[in-house]
Symmetry: D3
Subunit: 254 residues, 6 copies
Amino acid sequence: MASDRSIHITVINGNTSAAMTRGIDAVAQAICSPQTKLVTTQPQTGPASIESYYDEYLAIPGILEQIVLDQTADAFVLACWGDPGIEAAREITQRPVVGIAEASLYVANMLAAKWSVVTTLHRVRDMVEKTIAKTGLSQRCASVRTTPLAVLETEQCRDATLAALITASQQAIAEDGAEAICLGCAGMSGLDTALEAELQVPVIDAVAAAVRLAESLVALKKHTSKQLTYRPPELKPILGYSDGMQPSDLRHLR
Amino acid sequence: MASDRSIHITVINGNTSAAMTRGIDAVAQAICSPQTKLVTTQPQTGPASIESYYDEYLAIPGILEQIVLDQTADAFVLACWGDPGIEAAREITQRPVVGIAEASLYVANMLAAKWSVVTTLHRVRDMVEKTIAKTGLSQRCASVRTTPLAVLETEQCRDATLAALITASQQAIAEDGAEAICLGCAGMSGLDTALEAELQVPVIDAVAAAVRLAESLVALKKHTSKQLTYRPPELKPILGYSDGMQPSDLRHLR
Amino acid sequence: MASDRSIHITVINGNTSAAMTRGIDAVAQAICSPQTKLVTTQPQTGPASIESYYDEYLAIPGILEQIVLDQTADAFVLACWGDPGIEAAREITQRPVVGIAEASLYVANMLAAKWSVVTTLHRVRDMVEKTIAKTGLSQRCASVRTTPLAVLETEQCRDATLAALITASQQAIAEDGAEAICLGCAGMSGLDTALEAELQVPVIDAVAAAVRLAESLVALKKHTSKQLTYRPPELKPILGYSDGMQPSDLRHLR
Amino acid sequence: MASDRSIHITVINGNTSAAMTRGIDAVAQAICSPQTKLVTTQPQTGPASIESYYDEYLAIPGILEQIVLDQTADAFVLACWGDPGIEAAREITQRPVVGIAEASLYVANMLAAKWSVVTTLHRVRDMVEKTIAKTGLSQRCASVRTTPLAVLETEQCRDATLAALITASQQAIAEDGAEAICLGCAGMSGLDTALEAELQVPVIDAVAAAVRLAESLVALKKHTSKQLTYRPPELKPILGYSDGMQPSDLRHLR
Amino acid sequence: MASDRSIHITVINGNTSAAMTRGIDAVAQAICSPQTKLVTTQPQTGPASIESYYDEYLAIPGILEQIVLDQTADAFVLACWGDPGIEAAREITQRPVVGIAEASLYVANMLAAKWSVVTTLHRVRDMVEKTIAKTGLSQRCASVRTTPLAVLETEQCRDATLAALITASQQAIAEDGAEAICLGCAGMSGLDTALEAELQVPVIDAVAAAVRLAESLVALKKHTSKQLTYRPPELKPILGYSDGMQPSDLRHLR
Amino acid sequence: MASDRSIHITVINGNTSAAMTRGIDAVAQAICSPQTKLVTTQPQTGPASIESYYDEYLAIPGILEQIVLDQTADAFVLACWGDPGIEAAREITQRPVVGIAEASLYVANMLAAKWSVVTTLHRVRDMVEKTIAKTGLSQRCASVRTTPLAVLETEQCRDATLAALITASQQAIAEDGAEAICLGCAGMSGLDTALEAELQVPVIDAVAAAVRLAESLVALKKHTSKQLTYRPPELKPILGYSDGMQPSDLRHLR
């Protein structure tokens, strides 16, 4: 039996909404191990919510900056379903980075033969499908079910969100063959228990899944591979970004 | 922060070699959380090692019996790379079942863009490729590298095993583009640290990965979906198996 | 023109229901060549029907034993849609082994651009999809249509079975684009003519298809490859199985 | 046991070389059932051999004409690896049409986990890969190995052909993981026994495989589906082709 | 800035209907660059429309002959959705050959995340799916929507055609997630503007797309690769075709 | 024949190196139609070259800003192989956006059965493979060949770059079956002619290909679909970006 020293996890909300950061933090604090010291941060730049490719791309520099600024964490959780910028995050630190999308899919894969992702606005379908494809698990995916919910509504209108998720999930189960449900937005975090009671199938809270997987990677003493793809960025000037963001400075990151 | 009650994990060696069971147990005990109570068992029937489809299929009834006999565990780890019988295991209990193959691939996926599986005898290539395909992650797999190593040799001849693994892994890295290595046999458990020191890329010990992921599923309070595929077996007599193995008896399993 | 000597075919029912064995035998005897001597057997151990992964895995040792006990056959037909244990069967003998699932798919492929598999209980969908994927023909599959039929009902309640198959097949044709129907259960054997009359598309009886393909392999004088994957099992003790099932004894099999 | 009436099979050589037609006929006559009446024909128009897309497309009208002219056959074998025009052949008759490419792949699939196709000139690689893809079996294919052999050389220079096939097959086995070999040209027909003796893995003679599978389809009393894709061609004039080739005349074909 | 010399484009209607040739020419003349000299031809042999594999295969020799006869064109447009014989066309000339199917898919890919192909008779679904697969873009395809429209009706009954296309396209958008529409038949050419006005999504006229892409290839000074697959046909006699169609004569083509 | 009015194309270099912008502009001006007014710009923020995911993500906001600032162009060319941020670019304008990666692959697809991408540093292999996969054309890709070349070296050291490209391309042709070569970096633009002379297979200059395809889309009067995925970004504040970059301002873009 291992004697776990205290683990530091930093959870990074992908958007700049403080209310969503607090919501994510509440879920993350509730699920993490007693030994874990967990903080939840948010970018200083970027959109209030991520609902388009444009939002996602403008969010990434601020997300990466959170990693650059954080020398304490043993591992990072990227708390936006879509895992925006995760390949770049893995380039700038050796410390494990876990995306909540991938984490939720791995957990679903261990609990059900087929699962669906239930998520926000209809327009994000293509983004969600590409995220699943990136992880490699498209074949196990029964369907992606979108809703009329904007991201910030999921945080602010919990009852309406729950109702919309129940409807979409029941369709996924009845019509698409889903045997478990992944909640495809960090704003939906915390609704898994209520939803599970209603649906009688496993419902995966992506933030919770990612926190536990990040702890696991630290316990396993694993680091991101620096062999090829995730090597530190090549040296060069990058205009319009702060000193700490220059490749030459990134070399000092652990 | 969660206050984890004590978690019980049962690790099931897939074969009937007591020495391998002890080796697996040592690795599992060393990596599990301090709060976890972990036992390692082995089937009462089946082959001394699993190196063919024939071995695998004759091992599965005994593996499933270990689950039937165990009412204490909160989750099971199936400690044979190949995850033999895991779909059936998920049918007969609601408690999470984690295969060491799938667990190692999920961990590799979080650490490297491409990984290789390094494993035993050349003849198992097809089995290993099918295991990866079942998990859905074939596209992220750089290669499967087989060796002249029999399963029990990996346990008994540690130096020769390490040497063979180094050779095969270096080929995977240099020729196939691997950026991390998954050890594709429970008998190789415990060699990851030495191998990692040599190769300078992450090396995934599948048993260790699965123990931490099983703990995570329990902490997340998740159970296997009983919606469709993993429902309890239909009622019917099954000739030649003990009472506890009859579908009518399985209904009492939690 | 070849002068066919008498060919011996052994058809192995996958379950332990004598009535189903008789039903399969009737279809197989009716379709085999006049020169063929055909016997249908069933395992001494295993479930009365195969409707879950658990059933399937507990059936396989008994199925393999039927091959071990049979030194007369020139080829084997594995008469359970799902081809349970077929890779292991190919390891323990050089004589061709034909699964009824694969045989029916090859025949369908030669008759129609797209086909559907119509089968038993809803819960077997995942098993059926994996069987098709194993054969490699998922892309040609229009759909898998499940029914409320338990396996033994297909044998016992022929009218209700026929009615359910007509309904499911008509849906497959009208909604999924199926141009031929594969009957996805050995218990449905013998219903192809009645169904074909109703549907006006080819309906493949999997047992009949496999018997003719097994004869073809014998006529072609082909044996299972022993190059790598299907080599005889490695030598080792296997606990809990009879003497004949030990790898050292399997070496005497032709 | 079925009482097979005499079956009529017409084998259609895809090219206009009489010597190749005779070679194909010899193999086909030697392998067909004693009850089968088999004739081998060749198109009246088209190339002396098929080694490019151009050759293939100019061969197809003549191949289809052979079907139009033949009201006697119960089934057709399309004896050019590439199965040229087979979809159209299936439109103009209900009688089964078996391509030698697909037949050889189905047989290989029943004998080996992975197989390679060994064939003629390097330039046909793309055609061969597309043929395998059309059948749906690319995943089971270990490799396509081309040679410097022109099609007519395979018929005329048997020793050199055998030598080239041995070399290419040994590379496929040693380097690509092939466990069986498909001979990817009708001109190679008859060399399987000699090659098998040398290689010690199953070698599939595509013509022989197709003859037996065509007999099987007739014995199974199956016809090509006329549900959608393979319906008779729509009525319309077709300039430059003989009367019998007009869609209005095709309606009289059985 | 390039000083474009006059470019000669030959558009080849795939069928022998003069009315359709005129319709295609009107669209092609309207969209080509002012500097381009464009002629539209049709085969001297072949079907009046292409609605089956049989039609397609009997059309190809005549299509290829149009290329053989044309020493003036700098590039060819193959104006039948299905791009019949395009690989052979690329073998017999170095001048670029653009199929209207592939051209329309590339254009759709640059305008929309997912698109559907809306086309003629239900029976062509399989042909259309294979055409998309050949191009490699199946994953971006939301659906193939067929209609009751025969090919020649699309040319002759413009109002009914437009109505049927609107209905099918609206279903593709609402039910399948299409974000753009490809018109899957040369006979539908010219209807894109009216359809676009109705649907409010991009509608791709395949003939127009191909003409502009063919011009682009000429402007880029690119020729078809003669490295392997598209080398000139091997020398051999081809019975039943005119002198100019013999491989020895093709060597003189530029 | 169309009477093309003057078309305005803006080519956006993905990095902030003025020398590379000039090199791209020279190629683009040389290939564009005489009627086209073409300007080449570069972002005001971002890395001097793009050789990692980090570089790519920090480049995208500046690239998108170039589109926001440009109300003149009729179409945009995104001149960085990798097409960074192209989905977001398509959200913020209706005017066509063509990536040089996708353009080069479409052109290659029309000229060769299989092609390879030859590109910069070994570490970009994963990025390049994902770009090809995003376009949907992985199956047509013979290989990705990386070199020791940094991006800026390709611009600055033309002889060494040419030598390295020749070596890598020859390997792709001889060992991987490539029949055409795509130059996988905007910095390699202009080397296609010299390379083609050496290799005797088509070499695609990605910038040139994209310019002509962008002109084609304008000539075809096509706009990006606003149906679902590429709708304008949802309204919300985005911290740390200039006024013009706010979603509310994007609504004014044409």
